[in-house]
Every structure is written in C-alpha cells, then in structure tokens.
Symmetry: C2
Subunit: 199 residues, 2 copies
C-alpha cells in the first residue's frame, strides 16, 4: 500500500481511546473514511467542543459544563455527607441507584504507585482541603474500587480523613472483589451503599 | 447529573464508530476528558486531516492520499489480473500475504438488498467500466466475503464479468465460511489465493 500519513495518523490517534487496539483502530478508520465521512467530521467537532466546554466542578471535581455541577448546586443534597469516587463514571453509577442524597468528591483515578501515580496526581490534596473547609463534613463514604490499588487508595483516604476528624465509612463488600464500580449492577451498588461499614 | 450537552454530543458521536455502544462511548469520553485532553484534540485533528486528504484511487477505488494508489502506479503489477474485494481492509489482508502481483478493484462493501444497498451503491457500475476499459483484464479474481451477502455479490459480479468476456475465478474455500476476510490468518488466505477456482 502507498504511504498514507493521514490514515496512519488517524489510526494512531484512535488507539488513544481505551480498549481500542491496532486492528480495531484500522477498522474504525476504514469505516469512517469509506462509509461515514460526515461521522468523522461530527466526531472531530464533538471532540473539540467537549475539550473546550467540559471542565471540572470547582467543588467536587466531577466533569461539568458550568462553574459548579448540578449535584453541588442542589440545595436538597446533604453537604455533611461526602462520597469519594475514582471517576465520573463511578459517580454516575452511584447516582443511578437513586438512593444517595449527599455530595461527591471525584478523584482522578486511584493511586498506582508502580506507575508513578501518587496522592497529588489523583487529587487527595484537594480532598483534604474540602474536608477542612466549610460546610463541615460529618461522614466521608469511601467508594473507591475493590481492587488492590482501590483498597490502597481507600486506606490512604481513611488516614487522611481521620486526621481531619471526619468519620469514615466504606461501601459494603457487596461489590464483587476485583471489579470496577461502573460495571456493577444497580441493586448490588444500592446494597453496598446501605451496608457501608466503618473505615 | 447536570445537563451536559457537549458530553452527550461526544458520547453520541463516538457511537458512530463500529463496535462502540453507549457504555464504551461514555467510558471513552470520560477517559479523554479526564486523562487525555491532548488525545482528544489530536484525534479531532487527525479525523479532520484524514477526511480532507484521504480519497479514493481513481483507478481501483481504494483509500488513497494521491490521485492514484501505489499498487495501481506500480509498473511491475500485472494489469491483466484484477482482484475485486469489498473493503480496503480486505485488500490490505491480501497484500500482507505477499503472494499476489496483480491489481485490485475495491468495492464499497457488499450487496445488502434488505438494507437497500444495491449494485450502484457498492460500485459495480465502475467495476464494469474498468473491465471494459484498457488495458484489458484477462482474469477477474472475486474475493468478496464468504457470507450470504458476499456470495450473492460474487454471483452478480460473475454474471457481469462473463458478459464482458472476462474469465472469472473465486478465492478457494479455504477461507472459513461466515467469516470476514480481514480477520483470517495469512496462510489460509495465501492457500485460498493459490487454489482459486473458476467462478
Ligand atoms: Zn460538583
Ligand atoms: Zn489504485
């Protein structure tokens, strides 16, 4: 085949999407260029618009298109109850249970010391500031993954919160070990939320 | 969650990629916005550049960034031997066997009468013109998929080529029935190419 630098660039860029390897990237590029050029342009414009307009809530750090997200702006939400999650996807999973009426704090993932991802990189400094700020937090629910890294992250958060005088709980181990919150069924998450245990 | 029109637009646009459903699209969008904004912008620019610069070879209709693709421009390729495939991906799979020295004609997929995809939409008109033009084609190798629609497409092409006085062969059925050429291992494709049979 000819040198096709633009096709190769596109195939490489598609592999930055999670779960997309060389073969699916090639398939995606062929599909867009052969059958859906309008889709390619729409996806490009959607990416640029999202990169431009989607930012982080100044209070809870979730993805948000305003200064403050709807959850943080909702006056019926209990500000003394704070749930810390690894990702906006995990937050969305908890919200779908419809059983939680507190606020959130969204980390940038979980601690991965072997990959050089430390407390600062995932936002634990900002979480500590939130715990020390007004209004005071009565209970911090730690909803990080039940993976090795997620448990280690929970451990560090627990130390941090206790030092700040905040009661810490952890989602009940109804969540299957080794799985990521975002992919767990709603009733399991709801039970885990109801059965949260002291951290 | 808040109204997030830009995030929703991005999630919808990602679902135009083949094999990407609502859940993986959300995961991709979160990943790009949370961890790889540079990746989002690079993907957008790669999409726009590819949509701008990648076109179809005027001779064989494969994806190409010049007027004519490298295969068509290669004087050592036998112009009397033409292989018709459904996609540029299928062409790439045949090229990787390193055993074919003729030219190609790349269709826009295969006939799918139930979805309203007829002969004109996949480029059979242009294939007929190619068969009638100079230099003359001695043998047309039909390498459409061994699926029901691929076989039906092969049947129509065979009628067309015979009417134009061209000898038609079909890849040998070494290729597993029901599979798509692009995902078949190289030696199977090489055998199928060597054992091609009269159409
Ligand atoms: Zn917020
Ligand atoms: Zn060509």
């Amino acid at each position: 085949m000819a040198a096709m630098p633009h096709l190769e660039r596109l195939t490489a860029a598609l592999q930055r999407l999670p779960g997309v390897g060389a073969r699916s990237a090639a398939r995606m590029a062929y599909h867009l260029l052969q059958h859906d050029r309008a889709g390619a342009v729409e996806l490009a414009q959607a990416l640029l618009a999202a990169a431009d307009h989607v930012r982080h809530c100044t209070l809870c750090h979730t993805l948000c298109e305003d200064e403050v997200c709807a959850t943080c702006a909702d006056p019926t939400r209990d500000p003394a109850l704070l749930c810390v999650v690894e990702t906006p996807g995990d937050q969305a999973a908890l919200e779908r249970t419809g059983t939680y009426r507190g606020r959130y704090f969204v980390l940038m993932g979980r601690l991965r010391p072997l990959d050089g991802i430390g407390p600062e990189a995932i936002g634990l400094q900002a979480l500590l500031q939130r715990l020390q700020a007004e209004p005071p937090v009565r209970e911090l629910i730690v909803a990080t993954s039940f993976t090795a890294d997620g448990e280690a992250t929970a451990h560090v958060i627990t130390q941090l919160a206790r030092a700040a005088g905040v009661t810490v709980t952890r989602l009940a181990r109804g969540v299957p070990v080794g799985s990521e919150l975002e992919f767990v069924d709603l009733s399991t998450i709801a039970h885990a939320l109801a059965d949260r245990r002291p951290g």
